[in-house]
Amino acid sequence: MQRRNFLVAAGAAFLAGCSEIGDTAWFAKLVEGAQGWHRGLHRALGGGRITMAPEYDRSAISPFFRGNGNQTVDSDEYRAAEAQGFANWRLSVSGLVDNPMALSMADIRALPQRTQVTRHDCVEGWSATGEWTGPQLSAILDAAGVQAEANFIVFRCADFFMRGPSNNRRRVDYYESCDMDDAMHPQTIVAHQLNGEALPTRNGAPLRMRLERQLGYKHPKYLTGIEVVASLEEINGGKGGYWEDIAGYQWYAGI
């Protein structure tokens, strides 16, 4: 009986210890280091080539592509844009670029297009397959002329979450970011079509990013802006994304 009490106490102490360790700064540093190791291994095991997410035949497409997170944008501006078929939607390209731009949907459709059938993996564990069409981000960045100090691309979005206690609700915008390696990757596209049709609202109409070598939360929806930056520290919570800032999700979501 004593032995069992000891085991229960030891187990509880172990769990409490783990939770405490999980909140320390040195544990966060270790995890950051481990993420770097994973990312380094992912690139190294590719043997020097540009690693590509698998692409599938159209027959692999999921009959229904689930929408997760925000299923729409709860604002009058978005509802008005949606009613107009996104005719006046603009994608701004700003930051460390020679030619800042504001691309219309027609501009985006006029660029060379890439179509890819890929599997979308949510951090929660589920997967869905869809066919995405849009210009490569690299083509847009090349047209804008990325400056030498650029290290990251920040994706600005129209959608947001209301956070905080009921007497102090505040709006927190969704955003995401990636490094230049993922930004210039051939499969990184600004998608305006899913399965040959304009993007459904739940999947991010009219524009969403596809970063095929990372999990779903790195594919921001309702895209309004592309910002080229040297550092992520000054942007919003400083961790490079909405879920990274709000809930401590990993910035490198290739794991």
């Binding site: 409490a16 992912h42 690693t51 997410a53 951090v123 564990g125 990993q250």
Partner: protein
């Protein structure tokens, strides 16, 4: 006490045993937390609807998970960190075990040990709680158990985990096909985790009934004292 200490476990085996034990506990418990984020399992490449699932697993309570409350991001932190400790630990142990002969000498079974008669005797001895039998360090049932874990289940955990990582998959896409798709790999990851849990329970029970102090001491110091039992130790 004049008993002469005898070498039981190599230093590399002992270090790996404890690092691996900690890694597996952390990975299993953080894995149960991750499982709570989406409790359905599928076969094939994709799946998200209840109709596609072959199993919906229960929600695992806080006392079974790391951290002890639901947090997918924090559980992933533990999983991301300890997957490296576990993977490189296993690799180092395997290299050491091949080099020092442990793998071939103690883990691999000889042809004669596979005779049904020998296996039957071994089962009977186990039922009688007599564990000091068999010609080598380990008897045939131990060899089957250890070889299944070291050569099949542990590598299976690593490879199915790699398939689930989209960055890794882009480097080795053939591995996804090998397991029949990402969701199949996820299902196998879950099944193998519980088989390892089964081994863990059996392992602990057998250590407890075969002299826990002697067994744990030999896995720490590497020595075994001839003829001593827990009563003396």
């Amino acid at each position: 006490m004049s008993a002469k200490p005898r070498k039981r476990h190599a230093l590399s085996t002992r270090i790996w045993h404890w690092i691996n034990a900690i890694s597996l506990i952390v990975l299993f418990m953080s894995g149960l937390n991750i499982s709570n984020a989406h409790r359905r399992l599928y076969w094939g490449n994709d799946g998200f609807a209840a109709a596609d699932a072959w199993l919906e697993v229960p929600r695992f309570p806080g006392w079974m998970t790391i951290p002890d409350y639901y947090s997918l991001s924090a559980a992933r932190d533990w999983h991301v960190l300890f997957s490296l400790v576990f993977g490189f630990g296993l690799l180092a142990f395997m290299i050491a075990a091949v080099v020092n002969g442990h793998m071939l000498r103690d883990v691999f079974a000889r042809a004669r040990e596979w005779r049904p008669g020998n296996i039957w005797i071994d089962i009977r001895e186990h039922v009688k709680f007599n564990f000091e039998h068999g010609e080598g360090k380990y008897n045939i049932l131990q060899k089957i158990a250890y070889a299944s874990v070291i050569l099949i289940l542990l590598p299976l955990m690593i490879f199915t985990g790699m398939v689930m990582s989209p960055g890794m998959e882009a480097a080795w896409p053939w591995m996804t096909d090998l397991f029949g798709g990402r969701q199949s790999a996820r299902s196998l990851h879950f099944i193998a985790a519980w088989l390892l849990f089964g081994f863990f329970v059996l392992h602990i029970v057998l250590v407890l009934v075969s002299g826990p102090i002697k067994q744990i001491r030999s896995m720490i110091t590497g020595h075994e004292f001839e003829g001593t039992s827990d009563a003396e130790a």
